[in-house]
């Protein structure tokens, strides 16, 4: 199946196209992000790491993915 844009989420404040609903684990893989380095909120709710597999990211979801950067 072609990787066509079937839906879109708001990822870190900007629209982000997705081929369809997908597991959070799949989204993180798609973004090349390691679960030990990030934390995720979907619609302002934190998703515990243990639920990444069971959590489905759906069209219109507001997803925030954060990591640590240099700071004081």
């Amino acid at each position: 199946m072609p990787d066509s844009v079937a839906s879109s989420i708001i990822l870190n404040g900007d629209p982000y196209p997705l081929p369809g609903d997908m597991r959070l684990t799949a989204l993180l893989e798609r973004l090349n992000m390691r679960r030990g380095r990030v934390a995720v909120e979907i619609n302002r709710e934190i998703v515990p790491k243990a639920r990444y597999d069971a959590t489905i990211v759906r069209a219109g979801d507001h997803v925030e993915i954060i990591n640590f950067v240099g700071g004081g």
Partner: protein
């Protein structure tokens, strides 16, 4: 002279210097400076991941959380709500419960909003966070934060990044005298003597970022700060002589030639 250990949130540390990881040229320089400083606790900021540059390296690839206690901060937060949200996200990364709480009240001075800091601290302590709040050098505010259950209080020496040094040693002395939790001077240190002065006053530790990262030679300054914190601590424990207006001779006044 055996020093007492420095304990934060149930964990013991040898180094009393806490360093930030901002403003460095790259992660390699950050890592090298942290190593030179001898710090065991490093602060980091919590930010959105860069979606467009996926190959980007991660700070934790350079600062192993198994070796360093990672201390996420809430820099850039102007409300208690934002700070609480940031801490919850930071904890979910999985490096522990220790957080550096800062709720900024003014963009130009970066002075803390003390009321909002107290509000956020109350919520975070209840949620099991080990809270280390950045706060004004206000003895009453420090007492309140201690009563709430913060694991340390972190009064500023001077505005963040100002390098002005210890502007109010007398307030710090009062804060130290009444504290039952570690007092860590956070922000305002400009050079090694400032760090030594904080430790000589009896602070338990010093937290800094700009003074090292902004120096012409950050690695050399990191080492200078390590030595200054150690020297200041040792001088504090050694007990300095009293200040006197007039001289007291160091050499014997008897047996003079003549």
């Amino acid at each position: 002279m055996q020093d007492t250990s420095f304990e934060l949130g149930g964990r013991k540390f040898k180094s009393r210097l806490i360093v930030g990881t901002g403003k460095y040229r790259d992660f390699a320089e950050t890592k090298a400076a942290v190593e030179e400083s001898g710090a065991e606790i490093v602060t980091v900021a919590v930010r959105r991941v860069n979606i467009t540059d996926r190959g980007k390296e991660n700070l934790l690839d350079y600062l192993d959380p198994r070796r360093y206690q990672i201390l996420p901060n809430t820099a850039g937060c102007f409300t208690a709500e934002e700070a609480i949200r940031t801490c919850r996200l930071a904890r979910e990364v999985g490096v522990g419960e220790l957080v550096k709480l800062e709720v900024i009240g003014n963009n130009r001075t970066l002075f803390p909003d003390v009321a909002a800091t107290l509000e956020a601290a109350r919520v975070l302590v209840k949620e099991g966070f080990k809270v280390m709040p950045y706060v004004t050098d206000d003895p009453v505010a420090c007492l309140r934060l201690q009563e709430i259950g913060c694991v340390a209080v972190m009064p500023l020496a001077a505005p963040i990044g100002s390098g002005l040094g210890i502007r109010n040693p007398f307030n710090l002395a009062i804060i130290i005298e009444q504290a039952k939790v570690p007092v860590i001077v956070d922000a305002g240190v400009g050079t090694a003597s400032d760090a030594a002065e904080a430790m000589e006053l009896g602070c338990d530790g010093v937290l800094m970022n700009s003074a090292i990262a902004g120096a012409k030679d950050p690695l050399a300054m990191a080492r200078a700060m390590k030595l200054a914190v150690e020297a200041g601590r040792l001088a504090y424990r050694a007990g300095r002589i009293e200040r006197r207006l007039y001289a007291t001779a160091s050499s014997p006044l008897t047996g003079l030639i003549g």
